[in-house]
Symmetry: C2
C-alpha cells in the first residue's frame, strides 16, 4: 500500500466547511487505497491572533519565546482535532497526532526550531492499519520535552519531513494557488502553471521571490528526494487539479532553457563611495557585515579609475538596511570610506532554468530584452541555473513581462 502525505494550509482549513472540503479529498485518496497522513496548519488568522496575544502577555518579560511556542502550538492542535473529527464523519478511521506524540524532535531554537529527528515508525504503523493520521504542522518537541515551533512556512516543512520519515510516495501541498507559475500571474497575463519543476529550480525560484513554498521545505524535499506536489484546495473535487510536481531533475523530460521569471522588491542597494584602492578593503567591509549577522546578496566592485577612489555596491534584505548601515558606519575608521548611500528603490529580477547549464546566450538574451525596453542594469549575479539583475523598482513589471516573452514562456 502506498503512503501519501497531504498538507492543508491555513486557508484550506480556515473554516469547518473548508475542512470538510479538504476531508473529502483525503477520503478520495484513502478510498483509492493510499495510506494517508494529513498535516494541518492552524486555521487562517489564528496564528497571528496568538502572536499578538503573546506579545501583549510577554511585554516586559526578558524572554518568552519558549512559552510563545506553547501558545502557538494550540492553533495546529485545534485544527488537527477538528480535522480528525470531520474525517470520522466521512466514515474514515482517523486520529490527531501532536508533534510530541508523532516523534517530531527538534532543536531548542524556539520560534525557528529545526527538525533534528523524526521517527516515523508509530505514524507509519497507524496509517498502514487504515487509520488516517492527522499531524499538527509547524511544531515539534525538544529532547527534554518542551514544545517548539518551526517558524513561518513550518507546516510545509512538517509535511515534507513526515513524507521523508514515512518514505511516502508523494507529498501533496494543498494551498490557495493551483501550482507554481512561470511568473507572477498578477503581472503577466500569459503566465502559466508549470507541470514539473526540478528541486533546484524551485529552490532558486523560492529564494528569488516566488512565495508558494519556503526554501527550507524545498531543500528538505530535495535532500530526501520526496516528490512534492503543489496544488489547489479550491478546485472542486473531481475536476482536473494536476498542480506542479517538484522532482529530481532526471525526471524532467521537457526541454526548457528558462523555466520561470521571479522578482523581489525586498532587497535594498547600499553603495560605499570613496574606498581606498588597497587589497583587503572588501574583506574588511564583509567581515564587519558578517559580524553583525547580515546576509549580503549581490556585490559589484567598481575599480578606481585614474587616481579616483573605488566604489562598492552590495544588496541586503530590506529589513536589514539600517543595521547594515550602522555596522559599516561604526567601522568607518577601519574601512575608511567617504560616504555610504542606501537605496531602497530597487528590484531584483531573475530568470531560472536548468537549461542554462547547456545553453549559452541566456545572459545575452536577457540583457538585450531589458535594453530594448530601456531598462538599465545596476548589478548582476549568477549561478549555474539563474541570472539575477538589479534594476530600478519602477521597471519591475515591465522587465518581468519582457523576460517572460523573450524566453518563450508566453506560449
Amino acid at each position: 500500500m502506498a503512503r501519501l502525505v497531504m498538507k492543508f494550509g491555513g486557508t484550506s482549513v480556515g473554516t469547518l466547511d473548508r475542512m470538510r472540503a479538504a476531508a473529502a479529498r483525503v477520503k478520495a485518496e484513502a478510498d483509492a487505497g493510499e495510506s494517508v497522513a494529513v498535516v494541518v496548519s492552524a486555521m487562517a488568522g489564528e496564528t497571528n491572533r496568538l502572536v499578538d496575544l503573546a506579545a501583549e502577555a510577554g511585554a516586559g518579560a526578558p524572554e518568552t519565546r519558549d512559552e510563545t511556542d506553547v501558545l502557538l502550538a494550540t492553533g495546529e492542535q485545534a485544527s488537527a482535532a477538528l480535522f480528525a473529527m470531520i474525517l470520522r464523519g466521512t466514515g474514515l478511521k482517523a486520529r490527531s497526532w501532536q508533534g510530541w506524540q508523532a516523534g517530531v524532535q527538534t532543536t531548542g531554537a524556539h520560534g525557528k526550531a529545526r527538525i533534528s529527528d523524526f521517527d516515523g515508525a508509530a505514524l507509519g504503523a497507524a496509517i498502514d492499519s487504515g487509520e488516517v493520521a492527522v499531524l499538527t504542522g509547524f511544531q515539534g518537541m525538544t529532547e527534554d520535552g518542551r514544545v517548539t515551533t518551526l517558524g513561518r512556512g513550518g507546516s510545509d516543512l512538517s509535511a515534507v519531513a513526515a513524507a521523508a520519515a514515512l518514505k511516502a510516495g508523494r507529498c501533496d501541498i494543498y494551498t490557495d494557488v493551483d501550482g507554481v507559475y512561470t511568473t507572477d500571474p498578477r503581472i503577466v497575463k500569459s503566465a502559466h502553471r508549470i507541470d514539473r519543476i526540478s528541486f533546484e529550480e524551485m529552490l532558486e525560484l523560492a529564494s528569488l521571490g516566488a512565495k508558494v513554498l519556503h526554501t527550507r521545505s524545498v531543500e528538505l524535499a530535495a535532500a530526501k528526494r520526496v516528490p512534492l506536489r503543489v496544488l489547489s484546495s479550491f478546485v472542486e473535487l473531481g475536476n482536473p487539479n494536476p498542480g506542479t510536481l517538484l522532482c529530481p531533475e532526471d525526471q524532467i523530460m521537457e526541454e526548457r532553457i528558462v523555466t520561470g521569471v521571479a522578482y523581489t522588491r525586498d532587497e535594498a542597494k547600499i553603495t560605499l563611495l570613496g574606498l581606498p584602492e588597497v587589497p583587503g578593503t572588501a574583506a574588511k567591509v564583509f567581515a564587519c557585515l558578517a559580524e553583525a549577522d547580515i546576509n549580503v546578496d549581490m556585490i559589484v566592485q567598481s575599480p578606481a579609475r585614474g587616481g579616483e577612489h573605488a566604489n562598492m555596491v552590495f544588496t541586503v534584505s530590506m529589513g536589514e538596511v539600517e543595521r547594515a548601515k550602522a555596522a559599516i558606519i561604526a567601522a568607518k575608521e577601519i574601512i575608511s570610506f567617504k560616504d555610504i548611500v542606501a537605496d531602497e528603490d530597487v528590484s531584483k529580477v531573475s530568470v531560472i532554468g536548468l537549461g542554462m547549464r547547456s545553453h549559452s546566450g541566456v545572459a545575452h538574451t536577457m540583457f538585450s530584452a531589458l535594453a530594448s525596453k530601456g531598462i538599465s542594469i545596476e548589478a548582476v549575479s549568477t549561478s549555474e541555473i539563474k541570472i539575477s539583475v538589479l534594476i530600478r523598482s519602477e521597471y519591475t513589471e515591465l522587465a518581468v513581462r519582457a523576460l517572460h516573452t523573450a524566453f518563450g514562456l508566453d506560449a
Copy 2:
C-alpha cells in the same frame, strides 16, 4: 521550603489583566519563600466555545470524545503559556507544564477521565529550584500517550492532585467567591463565610447543591489530607482574604451543630401508584432503574392501608426524569403498578453539620422550623451529618431562611 499549590479558575484568568492580578498573588507567595505550583483553567468562555466547535465538527461522526479532549486541552495550554509569560514579567522564573509533561496519568475515559497516577518528582524539583510551575488544569495523558480531560470541575481536581503529588502544605483555590458560606447569600442576607469546614461536611454541602467546589475535588483532598482553601481572586492583594479552609475534622475547634444549609432544585419526584403489596416490589423497581444506570436519591414507601395498594415515591436528578419514567413504563408488566407521576416542582433542602453526631434533636428543630412556616415535607433522607427534606419548590427560599435562623447561623 514549603510547597504551595495555587489554582486560578476561568474568571480569575479571564483576561490578561486578570492574569496579571493573579500573577501578583503568586509573586507575593514566592517572595514569601513558598515553592509555588500554579494550576490554571482555560480563560472564561473558552471551553464553552471549543465545546460548540467540537459539536459542529463532530456532527455525524460515530465517536469524537478523544478528539474533543485534544481540542479542549488547547484552552488550558494557552492559559498556562500566557500565565508563565506574565509571571516572567514580574521577575519570577516560570514555565508552563502540560498534563503530559507533568506526568498526570489518567484513565482513558475521554471527557471524564480519572487521574490514575501523578508522579510529582519533576514538578517538585522544578519548583524547589525556584521556578514557578504553571500546570494546565483539567487534563492529563493516558498510558498510551493520548490527551484526556477530567470533566467539569477538573481543574480543581488537577490542583488537589498536584498538591497531593507535591506533598504541598496547602492548596489554594482562587475563585470568584471569597469562601464557603453558611448558605446561599443571594437568599439569606445574613449568610456568612465559614472559616473552617471539615472535608466530610464540605462533601455533603457540595453534593447537596453548594456550587463552590465539585465533590470529586473534595473527596480527593479528604483522601490525601490536603488542606484546601477556597478564597477570592477579586479581593485586592494586601487586603484580608482568609477564605474557607477545608481540613480534617480534628482540626475544627469551633463547636457547631449545623454548619450550613444547602438546597437544590435539580431533583424531581416520581410517584408510583397502585403497587401490589407483595415482597420484592421495591427491588423490582430499583433493579430496573439500576439497569438504566439511573441514580435514585430519596425513597419513601407508603404502606397499603386496608386493602388499598401501596405507593412509592423516589427522586432522581432532573435530567434523568424522562429516562427513569421510560425505564419503569417498559417494565410495567413485571412491576405491576397503576400509574406513574413525575413532579419537577420540588426542592431538596438540607442541613449539614458534624455536631449532629453528638447532638440529638436536630430533626426536631428542623421539622418544627418548617412546620412553623407552614411547609410540608414530602420525603426525608438522612446521613450521620446531614438531614435532607423534599418540599414544594415555591417554599425553597422561605425554608432556607427559616433553617438558617433556627440553627443559629444568622449571628
